[in-house]
Amino acid sequence: MTKYVIKRLILAFVTAFIILSLTFILMKLLPFTKPIGNAEVQYSYYMSQVHLGFVLDLPREATGYGERLFRYVDSTGLVHNFYQTPVMVQYVSWLRNIFTKWEWGTSTYIMPNVSAIIIIGHRLPTSMYINILSVVWSVPLGIGLGIFAALKKNTMVDHVISTLVMVFISVPSFVLITFVIWIFAYRLNWLPTQWAQVTDPTLTKFLSYIIPVFVLSFGSICGYTRFTRAELCEVMESEYLLLARTKGLTKRQAILRHALRNAMVPIVPSILAEFIGILGGSMILETLYSIPGIGGLFVEALNAKDYNVLFVDMALFTTISLVAGVILDLSYGFIDPRIRMGARK
């Protein structure tokens, strides 16, 4: 088992390295974003890019650097020929800084001069709190509704729950978010219209959790309900449950001891998978409710060409996803004793 875990972790590391390297190279191979403006404005832009190491300022026209981005002659007669720094030169420099100094660089746009890792760390907690609360709220509610629907299978209650689940699972999240904010914040004025400020009263801060948690858990509740209902219905029709009942167990005992335990085998890993998403935040929700979380950071960094933040963001999610994948695989063994990881036949 230990050997298996180590092997998986090494593989995860190699995979992460490949993903990050490809991301770096592909990102840097994107067409250079040229500035819009007169010659002086463009010169300013290119000089700042030179300082960041993304562009070379050569006194002569040169071959081997691709298309010349811009040429400018300053008032003292110095000629500036701007070319993109070769991608592999940037890549090697990037790797060297990480492996020798654990230096992932500072932000150039989102929070100038601030360490990219600190930025991620600064934004992560808000997203995590909201998402953990959403999971804590949605798991019991979703599973409970699923059990209830399964037990009342083919009754009016089941039909109502299943129909509502299908309806709400089909509503795009941005529609739901906009709708909820509009009704409960702007029309009824029951809840804050935006995420609370640090200086707001405690009650406002508490109330500002309601809309994001409710909106985020909505999809999960529907998912768990549907999944649990389906699994439980299948188990309840199985022969071993019939055997349990014929052995004299009450329906309650049969469901709690046998049906639910077996139905949970595929559901529990899905809860773990949900936790992976916790760290990702919700871009749309965070933007529309002005939550200073991590949700839109990747897109924000990508649009602003804030590469250091972008790559730390990417590294974080890659690592979490890969490690979570390992944990998920291992969890099957704990939940279902029949599964043994790394065991030989």
Binding site: N38, Y45, M47, D74, N113, I118, Y186, Q197, T199, S290
Partner: protein, 833 residues
């Protein structure tokens, strides 16, 4: 009788045929020639402008007339595109806001913060201390106040609250304009030290500044509390300039102001000398920024590269970016390193323990009170500010409302919920709120236009073909120019057909058919908009006549289109029944709904109902990114019509006309067609004929003109093969053209041979001055590269076959010589076989 009838019929038939025949013979019928956008008129050659020409020091009235002349030409030639609206629009203010004036003052606004007040609590603010603050919003938190290192305008806005400048503005007594007044300076205007008695222009200006007990810093930082109420020292005024001009700090705006009007003499030299070093006393010695103390106190003295009036000197220097800051503060921010301190200045610290509240010393009207990243930025009145006593609004609260990025109504919702003091009304809510008593109109500083490609195919290829002067395009990618776009009547029809008023109202903007936005001032000192001048009104009179005031007239559009159809059919460009296909390029597909479809309908409806025999089909286009309309369309000539906006210095409208030059000297020409350096007889000013480029250059900074056109003051020709002399040295001759008139001279002072020891290594570049001789007629320069140098660059010669030569020189106009600078590189100094 029957024979008579037949004879009569034959006779009538013959007469009929005789009468009709010639009309059907195309060789005898001459089509009326359609007026092209670029049709020249006859020019009296003796009246072409010649030699050195300058209107830089002309009177304001003369410069206004020049601007009007250039504008009229640009409008007639369709170089300006078709203006749709200004970026001003409908703004709603909360009931508790008392404006400084109810009449919007272009370039100043309603005077809310300066002269206004708040007479009731804002209901949506939960913090009792902030209920009377002015509440506004931004969609993003830039996390910095350091505008020197940011190209984002929001940083300039945030910095503006808290950074003082030498001069500021205040509303005039009649509340219909504004005045410039001293703030950190003591005099209301800088004093010219070397003013020309005729033009009143000068290069050196002096003024006293507030120091010591007269002015103190403000900070709410506990970490840097020692700087709170610290007196401003004279050297603190110099520190920001030293930071700005030091190249090694890599600040994004350091290169903005190194050349041209408003640039400080010697600034470029300091910038060049500090690529890998901090600024030293020796480097700083020759820059045009001096300080001193006289009987009236501490003063600063600035020397500009280009002479200007006292007003413009004030305008150039009045920037919060150069508010004083102690060097010691910067060094402390960097834990002992000045360079690290510059990186930390105005930013969050690397570990986020410090915010801009700590890393910025306040000198403006407001001081930072809080900065919660991505949530809110709060300012309170700076009690140390000279303006503090006049400010009635105690603070400014900026909410970071990211929702407004996705939801264009988000800010309005916040306003209606009582959380914002003012909001622009989105187009989707205009009908509901534009007549609300809280709603007002504002003017803009930029116009949105449909830019046009009026090139014929030949002209397009000159500009963008395989050997294009602006951009080289492969044959397969050549744009197929729409012939109708070269017809003046057709383009006039396009202009008349657009209902700008309806379009602007729908989009919550201010309709306009003017090239310049209202806030472009011809007399910034007195707040006079160029659009209010007679020169402007004359320039656009022809296109405005008989329209709704914004250039729209369906009848005129139909008449122009009908004439255009006749021109185009007669000229054989189209046959009756043909369809003209036009593409209109937009920034984003959402523009189709807000503007594109309405304009498509305007154009098609007018054209297709003009009964001209042709049909118009307009197609809307949008790229994957908003900027595609610039990079993939307008800037590379791949378009018929394209939507875009640019803006310049609103205090210098004449300078802004550079973006209309067809040589793309501004790198931002968006309308293509006429060669603006050609003399076509349509610009006659000061009893001389000019090209657009020549008159613009003469008015902007002085021109060297030959036959009415801008001409280079020096030109070099590629060298013939070098002669290898017996001693191994090379001799080579270059042909040249150097200006040599009474008022204009070009003087070559040095030739420098350059090369690379290793052509693959940029670091091995080297250069040495070589012997040079100018022929008596000034048409030939002979350069000798000695044998030692030839040998030194041997590796390069071996690899590439030549050594390059640079020429250095200076130009002199009207007796004023420029500094010696690099002129050109001539590569082909190859030895004879």
């Amino acid at each position: 009788m029957k024979k008579t009838r037949i004879l009569f019929t034959a006779l009538v038939g013959t007469l009929f045929l005789a009468a009709c025949g010639p009309k059907k013979t195309s060789s005898e019928f001459k089509c009326p020639e359609g007026e092209s956008v670029n049709t020249p008129v006859e020019v009296d050659q003796s009246k072409l402008a010649q030699g050195a020409q300058s209107y830089v020091y002309a009177s304001a009235a003369d410069r206004t007339n020049i601007l009007g002349t250039l504008e009229k030409y640009a409008v007639d030639q369709k170089l300006t595109g078709l203006t749709l609206f200004e970026n001003g629009g409908y703004v709603m203010y909360a009931d508790n806001i008392v404006k400084g004036t109810n009449n919007y003052i272009p370039g100043y606004g309603f005077g809310i913060l300066g002269e206004g007040s708040i007479n009731a609590d804002l209901p949506g603010e939960s913090n009792s201390a902030w209920k009377r603050y002015y509440h506004t919003f931004q969609t993003d938190d830039p996390a910095t106040l350091n505008y020197m290192n940011s190209t984002t305008s929001v940083v300039g806005t945030l910095m503006g609250y808290t950074s003082g400048s030498y001069w500021g503005t205040e509303m005039n007594e009649t509340k219909d304009g504004y005045n410039w007044v001293a703030s950190l300076a003591k005099e209301n205007r800088p004093i010219a030290m070397d003013a020309d008695p005729d033009t009143h222009m000068a290069t050196t200006f002096k003024f006293h500044v507030k120091t010591g007990s007269e002015f103190k810093y403000r900070t709410n930082s506990s970490t840097f509390a020692a700087y709170n109420n610290r007196e401003v020292a004279l050297e603190d005024y110099v520190t920001p300039y030293k930071i700005y001009y030091t190249q090694q700090y890599g600040l994004a705006r350091s290169t903005d102001n190194l050349t041209g009007s408003g640039s400080i003499a010697g600034g470029q030299d300091v910038y060049n000398a500090t690529k890998n070093t901090e600024v030293t006393d020796e480097i700083w010695e020759n820059i045009g920024i001096k300080t001193g103390t006289d009987a009236d106190g501490d003063y600063m003295q600035f020397t500009f590269n280009v002479p200007c009036t006292s007003f413009f000197a004030m305008y150039y220097l009045a920037s919060g970016m150069f508010a004083p800051v102690p060097a010691q503060f910067i060094t402390e921010l960097g834990n002992g390193s000045f360079a690290d301190g510059v990186a930390a200045w105005g930013n969050f610290s690397k570990d986020l323990k410090l915010s801009p509240l700590d890393t910025w010393l306040c000198t403006g009207s407001y001081a930072l009170e809080r900065w919660d990243n991505n949530k809110q930025i709060v300012y309170q009145v700076n009690p140390n500010s000279p303006d503090a006593a006049n400010l009635k609004i105690p603070g400014v609260h900026i909410n970071i409302l990211s929702a407004a990025k996705q939801d264009q109504e988000a800010a309005l919702k916040e306003f209606l919920a009582g959380k914002l003091s003012a909001v622009g009304i989105p187009s989707t809510k205009l009908d509901e709120y534009k007549n609300d008593p809280r709603t007002t109109m504002t003017s803009g500083d930029s116009t949105f236009k449909l830019n046009m490609n009026t090139c014929d195919q030949e002209r397009w290829e000159e500009l963008f073909g395989e050997e294009g002067a602006i951009k080289q395009t492969e044959k397969a990618d050549h744009w197929k120019c729409e012939p109708a776009m070269t017809n003046k009547n057709f383009v006039d029809g396009l202009s008349f057909a657009i209902d700008r008023k309806t379009l602007a109202v729908k989009n919550g903007r201010t309709p306009s058919s003017n090239y310049f936005a209202t806030e472009y001032m011809i007399d910034p000192e007195n707040g006079i908009s160029y659009n209010s001048t007679k020169a402007h009104k004359d320039a656009v009179a022809e296109m405005a006549e008989g329209t709704d005031g914004y250039g729209y007239s369906l009848e005129k559009a139909k008449a122009s289109f009908k004439q255009a159809c006749q021109d185009l059919i007669c000229a054989g460009v189209y046959e009756k029944g043909d369809t003209i296909d036009l593409e209109v390029a937009w920034m984003e597909t959402v523009d189709f709904d807000t503007m594109g479809n309405a304009i498509k309908n305007n154009l098609e409806d007018a054209f297709n109902s003009c009964d001209g025999g042709l049909y118009l089909n307009v197609t809307n286009w949008a790229g994957q990114q908003w900027s595609d309309v610039y990079y993939k369309k307008m800037m590379v000539g791949q378009f018929d019509i394209a939507f875009g906006s640019i803006s310049g210095n609103t205090y210098d409208p004449l300078n802004f006309l550079e973006v209309l030059k067809s040589d793309n000297s501004s790198n931002f020409t968006l309308n293509w067609g006429a060669d603006t350096n050609a003399v076509d007889g349509k610009i006659f000013y000061d009893n001389k004929y000019w090209s657009f480029d020549a008159l613009w250059t003469a008015a902007d900074h002085g021109a060297y003109v030959i036959d009415g056109q801008n001409a280079p003051m020096y030109q070099f020709q590629q060298a013939s093969l070098a002669t290898v002399n017996a001693d191994g040295s090379w001799t080579v001759e270059f042909g040249c053209e150097l200006a040599n008139t009474t008022d204009a001279k070009a003087v070559v002072v040095a030739a420098v041979a350059y090369g690379y020891v290793d052509p693959l290594d940029e670091d091995t570049y080297d250069e040495y001055e070589v012997e040079m001789e100018l022929s008596a007629d000034g048409k030939k320069i002979t350069v000798t590269i000695d044998a030692e140098l030839v040998e030194y660059f041997g590796a390069f010669v071996e690899a590439m076959g030549y050594i390059g030569v640079d020429f250095y020189g200076y130009t002199e106009m009207f007796g004023t010589a420029g500094s010696v600078s690099y002129w050109t590189s001539v590569f082909a100094v190859a030895p004879q076989a």
